[in-house]
């Protein structure tokens, strides 16, 4: 049986590591800053062991039901702190602690010699702790607190090299855009709070997540506590928060810029865990989403559109991390779309596999940067000969991302596509079909940009690395306007001057990549097609069945009415997606094969306006920054507020000051030091009082 204190330990270990690093090691033992990484790695190792044990216990059928601990009394409602351990939480715990541990080991090599070494690990501990708290929360307010803590940690880590203006601006952009989504989430929570009476009448707690699940189910007396249009709006609010964190379509602009942070940060936060928090949030409230087909349609369409659109932008980026960032947005779109069409298990399965192979790809990009001194792929090439391990592992990650047969990405992506093919969720059939179409197109694009990335980075001849980039930049200064947005991301990382030393990265960086590589290969086999009855210890569809069982347990009696889709492995869909992937890879091979050595111009530039549209990211960033921020906010809103401040607020303050001063000046005239003058005033005053008394009294 699972003991509650052990689960708390998973949460508190990284937080304790944060306190130790931030309050002890950083101020007092800065010379021994190498200690900070080891403290965190130690804590995470224990946390990972506990998480695996929790997963094993949960998979063994344990259904822990921990009592929440009251924390705050707000009027009639009580906010409690508690732990909610169900299958999805157990999976997320393993993903978060596992990927985080690998990334911290890698960081030991990547961040070596950084002047703020212990600050880095302090932030990383804070992030890991907050993320664990997020997946464990049983209370929506508690979840929101950790949700925002995760956002803060992300802000701090994107802006880790805050002396670089691009990093500071990217941190701010990420924070503000995700906050816009969080407004929706907050409004949803506030709506639940306003309905506290109705929840209480049904014997439910408006903040306790399992109670919120129940609230959306029809009562015995007919009608749900939370239903109809109100439920849809609450869900759209929750989805707005999720879309902000997960970079879904209108709020995706921050994620590529977030690549300004150190590369391990990108791997952990902006690829594997935090951005998946949005998917987790939708999955956490999935019993509610099941009750609202409208909200499901929105989730499916936005997810599918994001998956397609982000993939098209990934085609033309020259910064290796930006390609991966767009690919992350695209893959998160797959997860959202899967949730939207009703495939609960496949979405989390894809989250699970994606965490491993995308973290691997990012760590590979960091390793490449270590050698080439740049993130700009136009100055890489031929690295396969110098870094065989990085090449092999990145190839595994890349092919997994594309979805090539035995690798994990194939299995998870295929479950999503099969679910969209089968349909049968609460959305209408055309939504499923449209989603399937967009996702299949996305597979083709994914294959293309992944192969382009691999080819430009590892194949052909080496094209000079960071040194050449610096000299080119100096030669072409001022650079053409169209190049600027791409180059500020490609600037050399803070602690990695553009020096080129073509060699394999140290083992402390390669080893965690190898571990993630093993996971990227093996993670697909936890959910096998229906004809594989048992593989080692995993029966067919183990992961998806496990997750669906958790969902049904959460739904309780209402589970009869609503069912998530459990897709059967479908050979047609698998063949279609593999064909799309192979076509994508083939086209990329044809386009880039002949361009072995020098040519730095991209053949995609021949597409002219389309290339321009894509490399300008559909002008969405320009719209946000140029029009929304500069025109609307700086000029209109800020101008109006400036006027109000200058003339109304300042004017009012000045008026008060002036009138007091005038009264004082007037009164000072009476204080002239002449006793007889005072006497006259007293006499007049007495007469006035007397007259008043006579007239009024």
């Amino acid at each position: 049986m699972i003991s509650e204190s052990f689960i708390w330990a998973i949460l508190l270990l990284p937080l304790a590591s944060f306190v130790v690093i931030a309050l002890v090691i950083r101020p007092f033992l800065d010379r021994a800053s190498a200690l900070s990484g080891r403290v965190l790695i130690g804590c995470l190792t224990v946390a990972l062991a506990l998480s695996l044990w929790t997963l094993a216990a949960t998979a063994g059928g344990a259904v822990p039901d921990f009592q929440p601990h009251p924390w705050l009394d707000v009027g009639q409602a009580t906010v409690a702190l508690g732990l909610l351990v169900d299958p999805i939480t157990a999976i997320m715990l393993v993903v978060v602690t596992g990927v985080s541990l690998m990334v911290q080991i890698y960081s030991q090599g990547y961040m070596r010699g950084d002047p703020s070494y212990s600050r880095y690990f302090a932030y990383m501990s804070l992030f890991t702790g907050a993320m664990i708290g997020l997946v464990l929360s049983s209370n929506i307010v508690q979840l929101y607190v950790f949700w925002e803590l995760v956002g803060v940690a992300s802000y701090l880590l994107i802006g880790f090299w805050h002396h670089r203006p691009a990093a500071a601006a990217a941190a701010k952009k990420a924070f503000i855009i995700t906050r816009i989504g969080d407004v929706g989430f907050l409004l949803a929570i506030l709506y639940l709070f306003s309905q506290a009476d109705r929840f209480a009448a049904a014997g439910l707690d408006p903040f306790h997540i399992p109670d919120i699940w129940q609230a959306a189910q029809p009562l015995a007396t007919g009608g749900a506590v939370l239903g109809g249009a109100a439920l849809t709006w609450v869900l759209l609010g929750i989805f707005a928060g999720a879309a902000g964190k997960s970079g879904q379509f209108p709020l995706h602009a921050w994620l590529p810029d977030a690549m300004e942070g150190p590369t391990p940060v990108s791997a952990l936060i902006h690829a594997a865990t935090m951005v998946a928090a949005g998917v987790f949030l939708v999955a956490r409230f999935y019993p509610l989403f099941l009750a609202s087909p409208n909200a499901m349609t929105v989730v499916a369409l936005i997810g599918a559109f994001t998956a397609f659109m982000a993939a098209t932008m990934g085609l033309v980026m020259n910064d290796i991390k930006r390609v991966l960032a767009y690919s992350t947005i695209s893959q998160l779109g797959y997860m959202m779309a899967a949730l939207g069409v009703g495939a609960y298990g496949p979405a989390i399965f894809h989250l699970f596999t994606h965490a491993f192979f995308k973290a691997l790809l990012f760590l590979g990009a960091g390793s490449v940067n270590h050698a080439a001194g740049t993130f700009n792929m136009r100055y890489m090439g031929g690295l396969r000969r110098f870094m065989p391990w990085t090449y092999a592992l990145t190839l595994i990650g890349g092919l997994s991302l594309v979805g090539i047969f035995p690798l994990s990405g194939f299995w998870s992506k295929d479950e999503i596509l099969a679910a969209a093919w089968q349909g049968g969720g609460s959305v209408e059939m055309w939504v499923s079909r449209l989603t399937l179409g967009l996702l299949l197109a996305g597979v083709l694009l994914t294959a293309f940009y992944t192969w382009r990335l691999l080819h430009l980075t590892f194949h052909g001849e080496f094209r000079g690395g960071g040194e050449r980039e610096q000299s080119d930049l100096a030669a072409s200064a001022p650079p053409a306007a169209a190049e600027v947005p791409q180059h500020h991301g490609a600037a050399p990382a803070g602690n990695h001057p553009s020096g080129v030393h073509l060699a394999e990265s140290p083992w402390v960086m390669v080893l965690p990549m190898a571990a993630l590589g093993v996971a990227a290969v093996a993670a697909g086999f936890v959910a096998n097609p229906q004809w594989v009855q048992r593989l080692v210890i995993f029966p067919a569809h183990w992961l998806t069945d496990f997750l669906d069982a958790g969902l049904e347990h959460g739904l309780g009696a209402a589970a009869e009415a609503v069912h998530p889709i459990v897709p059967k492995f479908s050979l047609e869909v698998a063949l279609a997606s593999t064909a799309a992937a192979l076509v994508g890879i083939g086209v990329a091979m044809l386009l880039y094969r002949s361009r072995a050595s020098e040519a730095i111009r991209d053949p995609l530039e021949r597409m002219g306006p389309v290339h321009r549209l894509l490399s300008q990211r559909y002008y969405v960033d320009a719209l946000y920054e140029g029009i929304l921020v500069r025109r609307v906010f700086y000029r209109a809103v800020a101008g109006a507020l400036d006027w109000v401040d200058r003339f109304l607020v300042d004017g009012l303050v000045n008026l008060v000051g002036c009138s007091v001063r005038g009264v004082g000046r007037g009164a000072a005239l009476f204080q002239n030091g002449q006793v007889q003058w005072y006497g006259v005033m007293i006499a007049i005053g007495s007469l006035l009082i007397l007259a008043g008394y006579l007239v009024l009294g």
Binding site: Q671, N672, G673, Q674, V675, Q676, G679, V680, A683
Partner: protein, 109 residues
């Protein structure tokens, strides 16, 4: 002689004193004006003691003399006050060689 006539005389005296106290610049003259105001009040007290109190308190003749007793007190206190006030005037004169009230504004700052 009626109470009314006496009160009118007292009021006239009070106004003369008030005017002198507020309008004259010489400290001695102001002092004298204040004495006039004192005496107008004394006159009022005595007049009221003579005409009003006996009707109200015919049974108790001692307490009926309240107004006159007050007047005697005020005369005594005024004598003491004159001694004190003249002392201040002397001190003022020694310091400033002047008895002009408008110049005695040192306390203003």
């Amino acid at each position: 002689m009626t109470l009314q006539a006496m009160l009118i005389v007292a009021a006239i005296l009070f106004c003369i004193g008030l005017y002198g106290a507020l309008a004259r610049r010489n400290v001695i003259a102001v002092f004298m004006s204040i004495e006039i105001m004192f005496n107008s009040v004394n006159l009022t007290l005595v007049a009221l003691g003579r005409y009003v109190a006996p009707h109200a308190l015919a049974a108790d003749i001692e307490s009926a003399l309240t107004g006159q007793v007050f007047a005697v007190f005020i005369i005594a206190v005024a004598a003491a006050e004159v001694a004190l006030g003249l002392g201040i005037v002397f001190a003022l004169y020694r310091n400033t060689e002047s008895v002009d009230l408008t110049e005695a504004a040192q306390m203003r700052r």
